[in-house]
């Protein structure tokens, strides 16, 4: 397939964009990466995602697909001949989708809570919530991986991609607060999983460098804190 049939509108720091990039890599799909500065948002982005005006947006033969997990499922279906991203069994697919939704709806807001925390007390509370979530994900990992390296078994799959998109941000958050979110005591499985995930061929060239992301995160933190302060007034 010609490279310009597939375009991805995104930005390198975004964990959601990363999900789409990893999925495309799993399927060995060549694509054009259109970097957004988001200030201002490009005409193409506004036209392709008029409802949310957010990244990532996948453009496949000029048809836009929005929302990162929907994009990952689309990639799995549109390039069905490549390695599978979702498991084949309907129940295993349900489990993967359930935990991916959990990551987005419960766990990620708690992560944002750490970065946007106004003071130490708020930060500690958010760290507590994130840790609880990671313990749940560790249990899920033990059950789902059945002793193999990834949620998807021997190869990375949907849930690895859904959760793994946040790995660089987890590392940045750990560095910032001098905490170990993934650790031997509470999340030994996920700790090993993280190393393997980061080294996976579909991941290693697109996973943001922790140091570079830490620098970038200062901008995000300022925005999150300003938003939290405005909300508190």
């Amino acid at each position: 397939m010609a490279k310009n049939d597939v375009k991805l509108i995104g930005a390198w720091p975004s964990p959601f964009v990363l999900r789409a990039r990893i999925a495309l890599n799993v399927k060995s799909v060549e694509y054009e990466f259109l970097q957004e500065t988001l200030e201002p948002k490009s005409e193409l982005l506004l036209r392709s995602n008029p409802v949310h005006k957010k990244i990532p947006v996948l453009l496949h033969n000029d048809k836009p697909i929005c929302e990162s997990l929907i994009i990952v499922e689309y990639i799995d279906e549109a390039w069905a001949s490549g390695p599978s991203i979702l498991p084949s069994d309907p129940y295993e697919r349900a489990i993967a989708r359930f935990w991916a939704a959990y990551v987005d709806e419960r766990w990620f807001p708690a992560m944002k809570g750490i970065l946007g925390a106004q003071d130490d007390a708020a930060r500690m509370a958010a760290v507590g919530q994130v840790t609880e979530g990671l313990v749940l994900l560790e249990e899920a990992f033990q059950k789902i991986s059945k002793g193999k390296s990834f949620f998807g078994g021997d190869h990375i799959g949907y849930l690895d991609i859904a959760f793994g998109g946040f790995l660089a941000w987890i590392r940045v958050t750990e560095g910032m607060g001098g905490i170990k979110l993934l650790n031997e005591t509470k999340t030994p499985g996920l700790l090993k999983w993280a190393e393997k995930f980061a080294a996976d061929p579909a991941v290693k060239d697109v996973l943001p460098e922790t140091q570079k992301l830490a620098e970038f995160s200062k901008i995000i933190i300022a925005k999150l804190r300003a938003a939290a302060a405005a909300k508190a007034k």
Binding site: P50, I65, E67, R93
Partner: protein, 257 residues
Amino acid sequence: MAWSLSRSELHRLFRLQLYVHIYSRNKKMSRSKTNMEEVKVIGFWASPYVYRVTWALNLKGVKYEYQEEDIFNKSGLLLQYNPVHKKVPVFVHGGKLIAESSVILEYIEETWPQNPLLPTDPHARAMARFWTKFRDDKKPDLYGFFKRAGEEQIQAAKEAQECLKILEEHGLQEKKFFDGDKIGMTDLSMGWLAFWFEAMEEAAGVQVLEANSFPRLHAWIRNFKEVPVVKENHPDQTRLLAYFKWLREMYTKPATT
């Protein structure tokens, strides 16, 4: 030309045919056994999320057992079945537990492919999932007017209308149903608009989904209510109104010092 086989070749062929017959019979049995395994829905009568699931099962002709759960007094069973979210619906199939309505719908679609709820084209499937997610993500904006009063309610009603405008103009567009000529997964996810929304508006004393401003959504509601599985199975409007009036009182009660 005649093809003659020796006695031993005939025996081998017969054995092979027998094995193939047994294998395919077992495969058919296990497939139908999976489909025939016990199906149960744990729900709450006033939940639109539960109805998504029961409508889907009815559309596909799947028999199920329904168990009512009082969400204001959660049972040990619910807490055991859905420890992460402690919510309904919970779907049980042959002992396997699944929670989250959109996850359950995808499972139902994959397990019972008859009367499909999703199109085959990957892009069309992505769009169907997009609109279900939009509706679920925008729940705070869509429901906000119900929980508020006075100036805050007027503002919240405007926010709800912005979301509804997007649904009308980008989601539904000129189609009869969100999923085209027949209802699909998206329509089931929008079912809350058909019965619940008007009860919430009446209980909250505010009109949000005005017919003049939202002609297409109003037409969709009329068409949706006429679909046989919906007509035969929906919450009782009187009971729903009483429920929302009671909920509204709880939300707008002044805080006790």
